[in-house]
Symmetry: C2
Subunit: 437 residues, 2 copies
Amino acid sequence: MSQIKPRIFKGARDFLPEQMLHRERILDVMRKVFKKYGFSPIETPAIEYLNVLAGKYGEDADRLIYKLNYKTGTKDEAALHYDLTVPFSRVVAMNPDLVLPFKRYQIQPVWRADRPQPHQGRFREFYQCDVDAVGSKSMLIDAEMVAITYEVLKELGFKDFLIKINNRKILNGITQYAGLSADMTQEVCRSIDKLDKMPWSEVQKELEEKEIQSDAIDKLGGLLTQELDLDNLSQTLTDISIAQEGIRETQALFSYLDQLGVDSQNYTFDLSLARGLDYYTGPIFETKLPNQPHIGSLTGGGRYDQLIGMFAGRDLPSVGTTLGLDRIFTAMQQLEMLEPLMTSTKVLVLVFSDEEMPHSIRLASKLREAGIETEIYPEATALKKQFNYANKKNIPFVAILGEEEIRKDKVTLKDFRTGKQATLDFSEVIEQVKKNA
Amino acid sequence: MSQIKPRIFKGARDFLPEQMLHRERILDVMRKVFKKYGFSPIETPAIEYLNVLAGKYGEDADRLIYKLNYKTGTKDEAALHYDLTVPFSRVVAMNPDLVLPFKRYQIQPVWRADRPQPHQGRFREFYQCDVDAVGSKSMLIDAEMVAITYEVLKELGFKDFLIKINNRKILNGITQYAGLSADMTQEVCRSIDKLDKMPWSEVQKELEEKEIQSDAIDKLGGLLTQELDLDNLSQTLTDISIAQEGIRETQALFSYLDQLGVDSQNYTFDLSLARGLDYYTGPIFETKLPNQPHIGSLTGGGRYDQLIGMFAGRDLPSVGTTLGLDRIFTAMQQLEMLEPLMTSTKVLVLVFSDEEMPHSIRLASKLREAGIETEIYPEATALKKQFNYANKKNIPFVAILGEEEIRKDKVTLKDFRTGKQATLDFSEVIEQVKKNA
């Protein structure tokens, strides 16, 4: 075998146990909450035909699709999926018998042939955790997206998070209110969306550069620089029917959130939330940590009533959200919400000698039977080496089974964090470990 | 957006909830057992530099590596990983500070540019579930691999499975016993490995075609066509030291299995087990369903003391096993071990009217708070349509909250499988659902 210097692909990451144990727990929490709201898992292959993916994300994104060296230039050319929404749309289109509303979640890596910026959390391979429901226009499902976001973050231990909520119909309405034509909404939204990172004066400058009339910009500024609640906004936009529809949807969504028990401290209407993607048609939402503005959105989503229908050739209103595993993990690290973990092992059983090894193995088996994650040092080497292993791996307990313990049918259990040790019956060992590990 | 006929990549699969719910459960069982034995998760990216992968699997396999259309022909050419062993070797090589023994599991898809044969379970994208330990020569770890296999299959409900165990050193020994040179072992092993699919007469023919001397073939046949236990074999091969070493290893492994509480009904020594891969150096094991010979091996693995060391440039004895998620799932389907599941939802709360909807939502929230997976039909449509939804999705319970129930603070709960319904207090609903769902 040739001796090649081992290198990892640029923009990709290895996850060692100290990261993976936490990532698995975060995903477990997500899956549990998704299921509690009636969402079921699906998976699609990483490889899709290129013509299924291309032309769905816009030109800039199309360039970021990783192509395989496979039947290049033919209709069978293949690529790695860029997100999970388009593959999901393909599944819906190929399965016309799906019972609607179809509520699915999907947790898989996606790939982007981007310039990696690890310090800003931008990688070429990363996980998306998507929850989407197809086949209902009810604002209750939009509210469930917000409730799921709320419950996942609460259960992970986040406190000061804020789910910002807006509606594309309201944004359409304010474009109209400013005297601009409907096809300007996207352009305007893209600038407005930057208001969480820059002051109005800079957004104003950007809008001027887009050659939008100054009286229109003034009207937009008038709305965006004051704290407007839905009632005020409704009065201001009283003649604009698309805005009224958006406001009614938002009011319905908010009353559902109340009935679902979502704490009103954790969500708010925010007229300046616009979100980049073109395909949103109704409510949009995004989660920020107001005290950690440098960490981007933890989650984001919205209603997209046209996208899947276009793919499937029938009317399929949809709403969904993405939870960012990497962002959530990074935020939890920075907020010191994660205890250092090298392993999930609770007990290391030491081995004194080859003769005593069978006793140690039987003890390990009994601990495992009791549901306790247990390792046994695989060789009867120097005890110091075995202790060192437990220490370096942060294993909380060491079980010692020497000649005397074996004779008396006892086990000496040492708590590595306190340094305390005691010679105990087997049942006491189980109790101690379950209580303190 | 262009209207492309939606197609799935040839040899790849979509998994809908009816498959995914079971696949997730199988993976949960694996993770739990892996952790119980002290193994910790890692993940590596799907994309690796081609020169990290190439030349590790042999020429035939190298052709099956999917290459990306990325810096083709340079040292940065990239590809999709073909298995998880070589990426794991790269991780070990790049992390010289890993605490040894390093016990890891890794569950990810792998890709093979193969001719897909879905009916034989051969796909271009499929999951591998690998457990490996690096840094110990102790047979206890080999025994743990067998114990983990045993425990996973037991917990999933398999009964008649058989873990076949052999040792490459014994196979080396019988080649020597037959009077063949050591470098013939691979060739001989590849033929012997077919003994579970064809009779000795055909394997004999194959060995003749490989131009192996007939007296050597006779000597091999003499060993392989009788039921030899380890003691008989030890006597027959008494002068062959490599065989004696293999026999001692197997005896140690078997006594560890006994101490670990593995039922001896579920494993056996099998001299005809050889396994294809060249890199095994000690114990090898493979799980079959003797009553379902058409289903291939559910698991397979062995000790490979050279592979990772070669990669890392130091001595790193290793042993590992792969559990085949697809094979296990297919076997469970064929043995009717899986109940049909469309969703994990236990209760569908019906919605009578827009006015009563808030009550239905609050009920759903309370059920979710009690940990019960609950859906609420998102619109106040015809009740028949809502019942239909529960029926088609196999949701076991429907909760009905009409005007009268609301007034009396009760819930009518219908068990969809028995057709029985009763009007109950909320606490009784929880109890009923938890007991019977």
